[in-house]
């Protein structure tokens, strides 16, 4: 199964988490100012649903909304989910419930229960996990997508979470607004020169990334020449990029 994730979902989950964190930290007074670093031990988990479109083996996640979690029964409030689903259906009639999301650093045992509960809506739901702890040294997006698979462990068929890879998919308008907010560009036009500079800077950064990626592949090839690695790794390294590039650049 291939997964495509839209940036809106990421911002949604992040906003949900920030909101809840802001409210809880202000209400238990005293931990207000140190709330920023404190979060780790008593991290509040938020839960929600992800919606989108599934075409054959490709799952495209467009949007998400919040859900209520009952910590006693370790389950999501079902009637709430159905109410929200109805509301979202009116505005986005093409989107179906694809799975659920949560925040945290790792998938937990109790998550499986929630996952199973959703299986009557979608036979193989996805579980999107976002790690809200800000770690400046990490280079990769702290978001993982899990699928559930039936594995035979010790003779008993059990459901376990299996990590899946995903790509970021976007529509042009989404990309521009994400770009805009990420770099906090001014909303008015500015002069033609500044507009041009902005446009070229964007392309420049993208090309730099491309360049660095190609260097890595090149180094690998050189090492291969010297007999150090086999070609298999190379295939996996190149494949996602080549597909994306061929898809777009050779128009």
């Amino acid at each position: 199964m291939t997964f495509k994730l839209h940036p809106l979902v990421i911002v949604n989950i992040s906003d949900h988490h920030t909101r809840v964190k802001a409210q809880t930290h202000h209400t238990d007074d005293g931990s207000g100012s140190s709330g920023g670093s404190g979060g780790a031990a008593t991290a509040v988990r938020v839960f929600g649903c992800v919606i989108g479109v599934q075409r054959g083996r490709t799952v495209e996640i467009f949007n998400s909304f919040e859900l209520l979690y009952d910590p006693l029964t370790h389950s999501l409030d079902r009637s709430f989910l159905e109410k929200k689903q109805e509301l979202y259906k009116k505005v986005f009639p093409n989107f179906y419930i694809l799975g659920w999301y949560s925040t945290g650093s790792e998938a937990q045992e109790s998550d499986l229960q929630i996952h199973k509960a959703l299986m009557d809506i979608n036979e193989s739901p996805v579980y999107v996990l976002l790690n809200p702890v800000i770690n400046h040294s990490q280079k990769d997006l702290p978001l993982t997508i899990y699928e559930s698979e039936l594995h035979i462990i010790d003779g008993i068929p059990q459901l376990i979470f299996v990590r899946s890879s995903y790509t970021i998919e976007t529509v042009e308008a989404e990309r521009i607004s994400v770009d805009h907010v990420a770099h906090l560009k001014p909303s008015d036009g500015g002069s033609a020169a500044t507009q041009l500079a902005a446009h070229l800077t964007g392309i420049h950064s993208a090309i730099k990334m491309l360049n660095s990626r190609i260097r890595i592949i090149h180094q690998y090839l050189v090492a291969m020449q010297k007999g150090r690695h086999t070609g298999l790794h190379l295939l996996f390294m190149c494949l996602p990029y080549s597909i994306l590039l061929f898809d777009g650049c050779f128009i």
């Binding site: 940036p7 809106l8 990421i10 911002v11 992040s14 906003d15 949900h16 920030t18 909101r19 964190k21 409210q23 930290h25 202000h26 100012s33 709330g35 919040e66 209520l68 709430f80 509301l87 009116k90 505005v91 809200p132 800000i134 990769d140 997006l141 702290p142 529509v171 042009e172 308008a173 989404e174 990309r175 521009i176 607004s177 994400v178 805009h180 907010v181 770099h183 906090l184 909303s187 036009g189 500015g190 500044t194 902005a198 446009h199 950064s205 090309i207 730099k208 990334m209 491309l210 360049n211 660095s212 260097r215 090149h218 990029y241 994306l244 590039l245 777009g248 650049c249 050779f250 128009i251």
Partner: protein, 365 residues
């Protein structure tokens, strides 16, 4: 890594030049301060509602802060409507003279430009949605509405003005936001405007002329008649510390989309429309000039006092805007072509160099 430091430097220079105040504070500030804006203080909001400082001063609200999430949702929703206008509501709060928009949601209503009371249809939806939201931890109230003007700019039409005037009578504090998804995609930057109307009969003090934007000919009358009845608010954006962190990381996966996007192809119809609109305006200007050529001898002094730009100047600005966008699109295509399609030439020249210093397509800063 080199790339991140030089792009960070470029970004900082950029922000300095354009006087951008980072709402999150400097990078050293505690995350908690940046995210304080997300805290909803119910008591303070109720107090503010009772005081009603806006009742005395129609120009009371001056600024709008929109969250990253709200912006993203509004633009995506507007774009999904294609050429049909869509609308939705915004949730948030007020802080002094600033509206703070935290979130937005779409309403199942279409084609708002010809219908006076589209909002009434969606009342039931709105009530249910707000209720479920409150349960799920989104405590803010509805503070405004947004709708899209696909392709014809961010301003309030006659119907919009009367809708907003009613809103400002019965649902204060309320804000009107207009998004143009088509121009956003074509220009590569977000086209959005926030407005508040003046009460009926109020004569505003002379406002400085707001930034010029090109309006298609068939809408220009509607624009002109009502443009003095409302004023625009300054828009700034904010995002949480987690948002910033995620967006930075997102760039690692995102750069491919920047290269592979092709605005020239995506917006063909819109550009064609813009050009034909420009042609009509030129014809109109030509007709006018033909008439006034004879009249120019009669009242030369009065003509000099005309503060408005002549039609030709406006047309020149419109055409340069279209040109700039096209040039940007073309530049991207040419760059991509050089990058990917002329690899054959360079590889023949540097036959078998073991260490490769890739030809840098752009100058290193």
């Amino acid at each position: 890594m080199d790339s991140s430091s030089s792009s960070a430097l470029a970004r900082q220079t950029w922000e300095l030049e354009n006087n951008i105040v980072a709402v999150d504070g400097s990078s050293g500030a505690a995350g908690a301060d940046a995210d304080a804006i997300y805290f909803y203080d119910e008591a303070a909001q109720v107090k503010f509602q009772q005081e009603k400082p806006w009742a005395q001063d129609p120009n009371y609200f001056r600024r709008v802060k929109i969250s990253a999430l709200a912006l993203l949702k509004m633009v995506v929703h507007a774009r999904s409507g294609g050429t049909i206008e869509v609308m939705g509501l915004m949730q948030g709060k007020t802080e002094g003279d600033t509206f703070v928009v935290m979130d937005a949601f779409a309403l199942p209503v279409e084609g708002t430009e010809t219908r006076v009371n589209a909002q009434a249809d969606a009342n039931e939806y709105m009530v249910e949605y707000s209720q479920t939201n409150k349960q799920a931890g989104r405590l803010e109230n509805v503070v405004g509405w947004y709708h899209s003007h696909p392709g014809y700019g961010c301003w309030l039409s006659g119907i919009d003005v009367s809708t907003q005037m009613d809103n400002q009578q019965f649902q204060e504090p309320f804000l009107a936001v207009v998004v143009d998804p088509t121009r956003t995609v074509s220009a590569g930057k977000v086209e959005i405007g926030a407005f508040r109307t003046y009460p009926r009969g109020y004569k505003p003090p002379d406002e400085p002329v707001s930034e010029y934007q090109t309006i298609p000919l068939n809408k220009i009358e509607d624009f002109g008649v009502h443009c003095k009845q409302y004023y625009a608010l300054d828009i700034t954006y904010f995002k949480s510390s987690l948002d910033s962190h995620l967006l930075d990381l997102l760039w690692n996966k995102y750069w491919v989309n920047t290269l592979s996007s092709s605005p020239l192809l995506g917006n063909r119809d819109y550009v064609a429309g813009q050009i034909s609109d420009l042609v009509e305006k030129l014809e109109q200007a030509e007709n006018q000039l033909a008439h006034t050529r004879f009249g120019s001898f009669l009242l030369p002094s009065q003509r000099k006092k005309e503060p408005e730009e002549s039609q030709l100047t406006k047309i020149t600005r419109d055409s340069s805007k279209i040109t700039v966008e096209q040039v940007h699109g073309l530049m991207s295509q040419v760059i991509k072509d050089i990058l990917f399609n002329s690899v054959g030439h360079s590889s023949r020249l540097r036959a078998s160099l073991p260490d490769l210093t890739e030809p840098e397509p752009m100058v290193e800063s």
